[in-house]
Assembly symmetry: D2
Homo-oligomer: 295 residues x 4
C-alpha cells in the first residue's frame, strides 16, 4: 500500500527500505534533502492518494507535536497518522484529539528492535481504533518479524506507547540484573573466566535471552569491558515507567534501582555521599576524603 | 562411561535416564529402594570399576556433606566425586579437602534447566581441577544441551557453584523485572489485553527470552493469574548472591530488591509497616488501620 | 496584625487559636458555619482592612486552586495571599501568576509539626518575594517555635512547598529506617526487650530524634504494635519527591524504597509476586500457593 | 568500683578518663606504653582485686578474640569480662563459652556516642546474664548519659552487640535519607539557600534529630560541601545488618540501599554500568563513553 514517512533517520530510513522491499509505495520526507523524496510536508501529502496514511518517525516531544499539528492542517477526512516515535503515552490523546478535529485518525506505535530491526523485523505495539489499525495492517505485517509474534494491538490510543514504555522499563531491569551478575563474577576470586560463563549460559539455562547473547557478543569484543566507561544515559521510557509506578502506586523497586544506577553512573561526585561523609566526620571524627580540586 | 549417581529425585532420576539413553553405564542409589539400583553406598561403590566417578545429587548442606564424607571412606585414590546439587560455593573447598585426604578428586557442578533439562539438556557450570573435569567430559557432554553452549569449566573448586549462584541471582532480577512490568500493565487503563502484549514481545523485542516465553505460557493458562497467590519462596542462591555482594562490596540493588520482594510476599502483616503506621499516628494523628483480630 | 484564614480544620483552626493567643486579629472562614467567623469569602475580605493578608489552608489541588482564583477576584492591589496547605510546589507559579494579574502578592508556606504544632509551634518553610515575606513576619513569628530555628525563607515562589516536599521525602526515609530496624530486632532471637532498646536510644546515641521519641511513645502504648495493621497511606509529598528525583536525575534509592514499601503495604496480593510465582512454577515445577478464593 | 580497661585508643582512653572522674579505680592497658598503666595483661590482672572486672576495648575480630582468650587464662572464677568493642554479635557466644570454661563471666556492650560520648556520656546496649550485668552497673551508670535513657540490658549474651548493630543499620538509613534530601535541594532551582533550610528544620519539624543538628554544623563549616569527596567507608555493622535481614528474611530495602550507596561511592568506574553501556551499544548502536585511559 501507499505510505508517507516523515523522518528518515536510522529508524525511519531503515523502515522505508524494509517497506519498499516488501513492495509498498513509500514516499519519505526528511529535513535532510539528501534523504528526502518530497520537498516539504505539503509536497509529501500531495503525492499520496486519499485516503492517506502517514507515519511520523521524528523525535518525541515538540518535534512530533509540531509534525502532527502540521499534518492536521494538510490531511483530509479519512486519512490516518501513525506516531511510530518514542512519544510519552500521555501525548497520544492530545495528538489524536488534534487530528480528530480534522477527521483524521491516529494510531500510536511503539517500535522495538533497535539497529537489528532492519534485518529481523521490528516488534510493533499498537494503540488506536480498530478501523485505523486494520487499514494499516499491510504496513505492520511488512515491518514486523516474520514469525507469529512481534505485533500486538494493545488497546486504544496511547496503548502502543504505553506497552513500549513498560517494555523498556523491563529492559532496564533485565540489563541491570545481568550487569550486577557480571560485576559479582568479575569481583569474585572463584570464577576465572567470566566471559566463558556468560557464553555458556546461552543455552539450557533459565537466564538465556537475546540480551544475554548481546552481552556475550560484547565480551567477545572486549573481554574485560576495558574500553567502555561505566556511564549509561537513559532515554525517557525508564523515567516514565517509574513515574507511572508512582501514579499507579505499583512498587517497582528493581526497575527504579536500574534507573537510579544510570543516574549515579553519570555523576562525577555524589552530593548524597558528600553529605553522608560529612555526617560521619561530624559524629565519629572519621576522616573524610578531601576533593583533590576543591570547587 | 561408568557413573554412580546418589540421589534419584526429580533431577537425579532424569539425569540417570538421560545418561543411559546416551549409552552410559549408570548405577544409581537412593534411599527409596523403589528408585535405587544399589542396596547402599558401599554396594554402589562396589559395582563401579576404579577409577570411579560418583555424582552426588542430594539436598545441599548436611545431606551433601554427609554423603561426601561417606564417599571419602568408601572410595580410593584416583576416584572422583561430583557435587551436582545446590551447595553453597563455600562448602566446596571443605568437600574437596575431605576427599583429598583420601586421594579422591572433587568437582562441583551448578546445574540449570529445571524440569525442562531432561528433554533439552542441562546447562552445566563446572569447578575443579583440569584433570578431574576432563575425565568427566563424556558425562558432561551427554547431560548438556546439544548446541555449542551450555557448558563451562568456570575455574577451580567452587567456581561451578559460584557461577550457578550468580546465574540464579540474575534470574531473580530478570523475573522481578518482567513481573513489575506485568503489574504496571495490569494496573494501567491504557493496555486492555495484557497477555497479548507479553505474547507479542516473544519476537523482535529487546526483552525476548526464555523466561518471557514461560510467562506467556503461564498467561495462556491463567490470563489474570487468578489462580496463583502472590507468594514466592526463595531457595538459597538469591540470598547467597546478596551475601556475596556484601562481602565483595558490589552494589546489587536490583537483585537485592528482587530478594526482598520475595521476603515481603511471605508476610501476612509487615512489622516494618506497623512501625511506620504507628509513627504516622503519633505525629500526625493519622488514623491507623486496626488489625481485625488483634494478636 | 490582621489576618484572614480560609479553612479551619485541624491545622487552620489550631493556627487561628495560636495566632489569637499571640494578639493577632484573625478572621476565619470555613464551609462549616460552626467554625466560621465570616459568612463567605466576600464577607471575610470585607472584614479585613487593606492591605490585606489571607492565609489559605484548604486541601491541595482543586480546592486550593479555586480558593486562590476566588481571592484574586475579591482582593485588591497590594494584598497578599499565603498558601499554607500541602500544594505541590509546581502549583505555586500558577497561583502566583493568577494573583499577580490582580496586583495581589503570593507566598507559599510549607508547614510541619503535625498535631504537636499547636503547642510547640509550626516549622515554616516560606517561598516568595522578600517584600511579601517581610509583611507577613509577625504572623510567621507567632506560628513558629520559640527558638532560633523553625523558620526559613527558602527562595522565590515555590521554594516553601519545595522545601516541605523534600522534608517529607526525608521523613519517609527516616521512618522506614527506624521501622526496618524495629522489624529486625523483633525478628531476632537475641534481643528480648525490643521496646526497651528503642527507649534507651533516646539519649546518647547517633539515632536519637523526635521520631525516635514518638516510636518509643507508640511502643509504650502497644509494645508489640499488635493493635496496628501494617498498612501505611502516603500523602503526596513522598510521590512528588521521587518524581523530582526523576526529573533532576538524582538517585534517591532509600526514599523510593520507603515509598514503595507503603504502596506494597496496601496490596492484599501482589500482582508482581503472582507473576514471579507463575514463572517459578513454569521453569521449576515449583508448586504455587493457590489463592484460597480464586477471583 | 575497680575496673581494668584493655585498649586506650580514642574510645577506651576517653572512657578511662570519664570513669576516673566519676571516682572509679581504673587500671588501663595498651600496647602503647605511653598510654598504659600496666606492663602487660598479666600485670593488669595482678593489680585488680578479685572478683575482677575487665573491659576489652580493642578492634573486633582477631584482636578481641585473642584478648578474650588471654584473659581466660589469666582471670579466675567469679571474674567478668566486658567486650565493649564493635564485635559482630555472633562472636559473643564464642567469647562467652571460652571464658565460661574458666568460670569467668562475659558481658557484651554496644557503645554509641562517637567522639561526643566523652562529654555527653555513652549510650550503652548490654547483653549478658543478670548477675554479671548487675555487678557492672556502677561502671555503666558512670559511662551513660545523665538522663533516664541511654542504657539498656537488651537480653542475654550477644544482645548488646545485636542492638548496636541494628542501631548502626538504622543510622545508615537515616544518614542516607538526609543526604538524598540534601542532593535534591541542591539540584533544584527552587530552593536558593539549602543550608538555611536544613538549619530551620532543627526545630518544630518531623525530621529534627541529632544527625540533623550535625548536618547543619557541617553546612556551617562548608556550605556546599566543596571540601568533602562523595566517598563513604562502611564499618561492618551496616553489612551485618543486611546479612541479618537475609538470615531472618526481613526486607530492609532502605538500609540496603544506604549500604550499596556507600559501596558505589568507593568505585572509580562501575563494572555494572560498563556492562549496561555495552548492552546499550549492542542493541541500539548507542555510542559508549570510552575510558580515557583504557586499562
Amino acid at each position: 500500500m501507499q505510505l508517507g514517512i516523515i523522518g528518515l533517520g536510522k529508524m525511519g530510513g531503515n523502515m522505508r527500505t524494509r517497506l519498499r522491499a516488501a513492495g509498498h509505495d513509500v514516499v519519505g520526507y526528511d529535513t535532510d534533502p539528501g534523504l528526502s523524496d518530497a520537498a516539504d510536508l505539503a509536497d509529501l501529502v500531495s503525492r499520496l492518494a486519499a485516503p492517506r496514511a502517514v507515519w511520523v518517525m521524528v523525535p518525541s516531544g515538540d518535534p512530533t507535536r509540531q509534525t502532527v499539528a502540521a499534518l492536521g492542517d494538510l490531511l483530509s477526512e479519512g486519512d490516518v497518522v501513525v506516531d511510530g516515535g518514542n512519544s510519552r503515552f500521555s501525548d497520544d490523546a492530545e495528538h489524536a484529539a488534534m487530528l480528530a478535529a480534522h477527521g483524521v485518525g491516529y494510531v500510536d506505535v511503539g517500535v522495538s528492535g533497535g539497529v537489528w530491526g532492519a534485518e529481523n523485523g521490528y516488534a510493533l505495539m499498537v494503540g488506536g481504533e480498530d478501523a485505523h489499525v486494520e487499514r494499516l495492517m499491510p504496513i505492520f505485517d511488512s515491518l514486523k518479524p516474520p514469525g507469529e509474534y512481534g505485533f500486538v494491538h494493545a488497546g486504544g490510543v496511547g496503548a502502543g506507547h504505553y506497552a513500549k514504555m513498560v517494555h523498556n522499563g523491563i529492559e532496564y531491569g533485565l540489563m541491570q540484573a545481568y550487569a550486577e551478575g557480571y560485576e559479582l563474577l568479575a569481583a569474585s576470586e572463584f570464577v576465572t573466566d567470566v566471559p566463558a560463563v556468560f557464553k555458556s549460559w546461552r543455552e539450557g539455562t533459565v537466564v538465556r535471552s537475546w540480551l544475554l547473547d548481546l552481552l556475550d557478543r560484547a565480551l567477545d569484543e572486549d573481554p574485560n569491558l576495558d574500553r567502555i566507561a561505566g556511564y549509561a544515559p537513559d532515554s525517557g521510557e525508564g523515567r516514565w515507567t517509574v513515574e507511572e509506578s508512582i501514579r499507579l502506586a505499583v512498587p517497582t523497586p528493581a526497575i527504579a534501582a536500574s534507573l537510579y544506577a544510570r543516574f549515579a553512573s553519570r555523576q562525577d561526585d555524589s552530593p548524597t555521599m558528600k553529605a553522608v561523609a560529612a555526617l560521619r566526620n561530624q559524629f565519629g571524627g572519621h576522616a573524610v576524603k578531601n576533593r583533590e580540586t576543591p570547587a
